[in-house]
């Protein structure tokens, strides 16, 4: 794992934060740690679920006053 990335999904309703993460994950050639920053609490449930379904690793979920930060390790699927 060589780099860290942040996806800004603030203002998007689920499942669009997941779609943004999915688009990113499809491009990775090696495992990458990526954090999705969102305002829809749905990401707390959906991103870990998306990880389990598609073979990525959910690392952590954090909630601040108005934002949710979900970090995953996106792994190459090809």
């Amino acid at each position: 794992m060589v780099s860290a990335t942040v996806i800004d999904a603030r203002g998007l309703l689920c499942p669009l934060p997941v779609v943004k993460l999915q688009e990113f994950a499809r491009q990775v050639d090696e495992a990458v740690e990526v954090t999705v920053v969102a305002t829809d609490p749905g990401v707390l449930e959906d991103i870990p679920s998306w990880c389990r379904v598609n073979g990525h690793v959910h690392l952590s979920s954090r909630q601040t006053e108005n934002e949710y930060r979900v970090t995953v390790k996106a792994t190459p699927q090809r």
Partner: protein, 355 residues
């Protein structure tokens, strides 16, 4: 068609989050076929997240039904945002609408067509498409006459397999090629859910999503009333994704053709609407706890007072003689009104767009 021993057929299954699509994918997967799911985001999907906005403190977990379904049956799944291209389906459906603004037949054709062009998570294409359609299950799209139409107009033809009703339908490519065993497909028809529930039990599936009235807001009477109103007010049948989202949130009130009020009904909605304040004129209450109200349109001074009176009516000060309400325009300039809350009988029912 490839029939070499090394050939491993691959299928993409349309997953709505309901039981039928879950079963259809599971039946084919159980025959050793590689199955991936796809869930299309149209903008009109009824999902837990609108509930999350409405009821943030509710104990029930908010989950994406299709992702959850995929997890239950153990298939990978992608979510595809088709909301922009989907507008044409909603605005100009070739085969018309169902009871409300639901273009179910065009929708299914559109989704199967899109599924054909997808590649899997590994970048490889699929050999056929699976849907959970059952003949006679739905009055608009799932009829004996419409099943061949969907296969033809989507361009899928015999690459569209409906495992739950396959015994009533023409033989498809995966059956003909021996990729799937036709004897292990089903002949369900009609509106009864009993055969599906029995099959679910036999497959060890004990829980599934049961969205009341389907999984699409276009089958919702209250929602479609607001969408029709939006089109009428704008003089054209058009929308963007922000419109679609805002129609799901709040109490919609149209006192006049040129403006509409969107009034938050609870804390979650007010918090969500808060994110749109910079794009709309808006009203908030100062003297009493109350909703945030976005204004879609331009207001004269008298109309601002009228809007303030309506907002006051939905505040904690509804019984008070006077409520302080602040109106803020798009440049951030505000004006304050000491206003008597509108009495319930003074608010004409025709203004209310929400059931």
């Amino acid at each position: 068609m490839n029939s070499s021993p090394a050939f491993k057929p691959r299928a993409v299954a349309l997953i709505s989050g309901g039981l039928d699509s879950m079963l259809a994918a599971k039946i084919v997967q159980a025959q050793g076929i590689y199955v991936e799911g796809v869930n299309f985001f149209t903008g009109f999907c009824v999902e837990g997240h609108t509930q999350a906005v409405n009821s943030p403190k509710k104990a029930k977990p908010k989950r994406h039904s299709a992702l959850w379904s995929a997890e239950q049956i153990g298939i990978p799944m992608q979510i595809v945002d088709i909301s922009e291209d989907y507008k044409d389906v909603v605005i100009n459906p070739t085969h018309g609408y169902g009871r409300l603004l639901n273009p179910c037949l065009d929708c299914k054709i559109f989704m199967v067509n899109h599924a054909l062009d997808l590649v899997g998570n590994d970048g490889k294409p699929f050999d056929f498409v699976i849907t959970g359609e059952v003949i006679g299950q739905r009055p608009k799209s799932q009829r004996a006459q419409t099943m061949p139409l969907i296969a033809k107009e989507s361009g899928a033809h015999d690459r569209l397999l409906r495992p739950l009703s396959a015994k009533h339908l023409p033989t498809t490519l995966p059956e003909r090629e021996g990729w799937v065993d036709p004897d292990k497909l089903y002949g369900f028809s009609g509106r009864s859910r009993k055969p599906q529930i029995e099959l679910a039990k036999s497959l060890g599936i004990t829980e599934w999503s049961q969205p009341a009235g389907g999984c699409c807001f276009l089958t919702d009477e209250s929602y479609t009333k607001k969408l029709r109103d939006l089109w009428a007010a704008r003089g054209k049948r058009d929308y963007d994704i922000e419109d679609v989202v805002l129609l799901k949130i709040g109490r919609h009130i149209r006192p006049a053709p040129h403006y509409k009020l969107i009034v938050g009904r609870r804390e979650g909605e007010n918090r969500f609407l808060h994110g749109f304040r910079h794009k709309f004129q808006h009203l908030t209450t100062l003297s009493h706890e109350g909703p945030l109200c976005l204004v879609d349109g331009d207001l004269s001074h008298a109309e601002r007072r009228n809007a303030a009176s309506i907002v006051a009516r939905y505040s904690r000060g509804r019984e008070a003689a006077e409520v302080m309400v602040r109106y803020t325009d798009l440049t951030g300039v505000s004006e304050e009104f000491a206003i008597q809350p509108m009495a319930p009988h003074e608010l004409p029912a025709a203004w209310l767009l929400t059931n």
